[in-house]
Amino acid sequence: MFDKLLFFSSFLLTISGAAMVLGSKDLVRACIALLACLFGVAGLYATLNADFLAATQLVVYAGGVVILMLFAIMLTGGSNNAVNRFGINKVPSMGDGKTLAFGILSGAVATLTIFKITKNVFIDYNLQEIPGYSSTVEQIGQLLVTNHVLAFEISSILLLGALIGAAVIARPRKS
């Protein structure tokens, strides 16, 4: 009962968050919506017996990415005054109806395409006995230092590279 409750609340949070990201004209609000959406996804992970993933999702997105996004918004002059400097094809920064329609259309086409590939999974996947909840932290830890150790190390290098790269790129230069 707890897990169903959790699932549906997370489901709603995710769906509505995603919809708000699409629908909001305000960039900051879109960010908040994204946070909600990602929080929902974390909840979904929790219901999927992916406790570690859930926590990671929280740590990385809530604590890192979203704040970064907000910072970027602030540092680039907020959401609304980002206009096309050259005045060509004067589309508002957050798009207008035309772009929205176009986006929804292409999103739908792409989604349908993916659906076309994966419809078998939807329809008849091999139903199995689904085990109960159990801790995955130890197993993930084991996997990370055994089977996936190379990927783990590479990802650490990737993060380091991203860290340094971001710092270097964003550093203001004397003109």
Binding site: R29, L58, L70, F71
Partner: protein, 402 residues
């Protein structure tokens, strides 16, 4: 795994707590806890004022109630009754959302905070991780609060707060990982149970690296909770009141409460990770010891029939143990809390750049190498603490001497 609150509940009720009833009980327990913690937060403000007065050789609040204890109630009532102002140019939705998010982020951490071995709402196997995850909502909340107020003081305060929080999260996390490395688990029960009641078994004194890690954690926690000397987001002299300049009434109260509760929570975490948490000396917190002791009291034996009295003794013993554990936990946490306040009224505020320098140039590298050092220690000495090493070598010499 240690019996948690739910386990006790199940024992108490006699059937699995998976149905609605258990949920109701659980919610009640949560509500009580939240209430208690809110009170503690309120007491925090009182303590702050009292201690600051003491440090400044004043008396402090002393009119309302005994020793002015009820001052916090008076303040709370004032806050609730105050007019709730939302600036007209503010982003209303976010303005309302921000203090709630702050409250949410702080109180969500209480779910895993180990007050005692029993009074832990849930012993998540990723407890520490969870704390870090939900704790970061506070940063978002502060940022949004600052943004939504549409005031430059608030904006600056919010941005300072957010940047400070996400920066200091790194040394804090790394320091926590030191403890995690030593205990070999993320759940608080694992972490606390790996320590002992007496200080020689605390992680604080386990090895030099954990000793350093504790202080890094403590400094980082101060910064994360925007406490002096890291209270730049709400620096009165510069930013009026920082991110909650525009907030009034209960919304301001939420922010204030969140801050004080958060201080308590991080002190609790520090205590749990490095100061032995709820552990009581001589295993008195363990129900077995106390219940055995109780059972051996002749008078009680006579009063309580032996046949079915054992569970009652057990319940009694473990209940007493839980109380002792609570006492242990609160003693350590409140001592740290005192230190936090003490620091606030002792040290001057840092500049923004020195704040970042401290984090990125000192604490982060220290924490990083600390972590490496702790890991090395664990490998090299097979997880033994300094105390154990000295003791064993002494014992070996004593044996060898004869």
């Amino acid at each position: 795994m240690n019996p948690t609150f739910v386990t006790y509940l199940e024992q108490f009720l006699g059937y699995p707590a998976t149905n609605l009833m258990a949920a109701v009980f659980f919610l009640v327990a949560v509500s009580i806890l939240v209430g208690v913690m809110a009170t503690i937060g309120g007491l925090g403000t009182y303590a702050e004022r009292k201690i600051s007065a003491d440090i400044q050789a004043r008396i402090g609040p002393n009119r309302v109630g005994p020793f002015g204890l009820l001052q916090m109630l008076a303040d709370g009532v004032k806050m609730i009754l105050k007019e709730d102002i939302i600036p007209s140019k503010a982003d209303k939705l976010i303005f309302i959302l921000a203090p709630m998010m702050a409250m949410f982020g702080v109180f969500a951490t209480l779910a895993v905070l180990p007050f005692s071995s029993g009074l832990t709402l849930t012993d998540l196997n990723i407890g520490v991780f969870y704390v870090l995850g939900v704790g970061s909502f506070v940063g978002v909340a502060i940022f949004l609060g600052g943004y939504a107020s549409n005031s430059k003081w608030s904006m600056l305060g919010g941005m300072r707060g957010a940047s400070q929080i996400i920066s200091y999260e790194i040394p804090v996390t790394l320091s926590i990982l030191v403890a995690v490395t030593m205990a070999g688990g993320l759940s608080f029960s694992t972490l606390v149970e790996a320590q002992t009641g007496l200080p020689h078994g605390w992680y604080l004194f386990h090895n030099p690296f954990s000793f350093i890690a504790f202080f890094v954690l403590f400094i980082g926690a101060l910064a994360e909770t925007n406490r002096a000397p890291f209270d730049l987001p709400e620096a009165e002299s510069e930013l009026v009141s920082g991110y909650h300049t525009e907030y009034t009434g209960m919304r301001f109260g939420f922010f204030a409460l969140a801050e004080y509760v958060e201080v308590f929570v991080v002190c609790g975490i520090a205590a749990a990770l490095f100061l032995g948490g709820y552990k009581v000396p001589f295993d008195l917190g363990n129900g077995e010891v106390l219940s055995n002791a109780l059972m051996n009291i002749p008078f009680l034996k006579m009063v309580v029939p032996m046949t079915n009295g054992t569970p009652i003794f057990k319940l009694l013993g473990s209940g007493l143990g839980q109380l002792l554990q609570l006492g242990s936990f609160f003693t350590k946490t409140l001592a740290l809390y005192y230190v936090v306040i003490w620091i606030r009224w002792t040290l001057p505020r840092l500049r923004v750049d020195t704040l970042m320098t401290l984090c990125w140039k000192y604490l982060t590298p220290i924490a990083l190498f600390n972590l490496l050092g702790a890991a090395t220690w664990m490998v090299v000495f097979h997880g033994k603490s300094i105390y154990q090493i000295i003791f064993e070598s002494g014992a070996a010499q004593a044996v060898g001497g004869h």
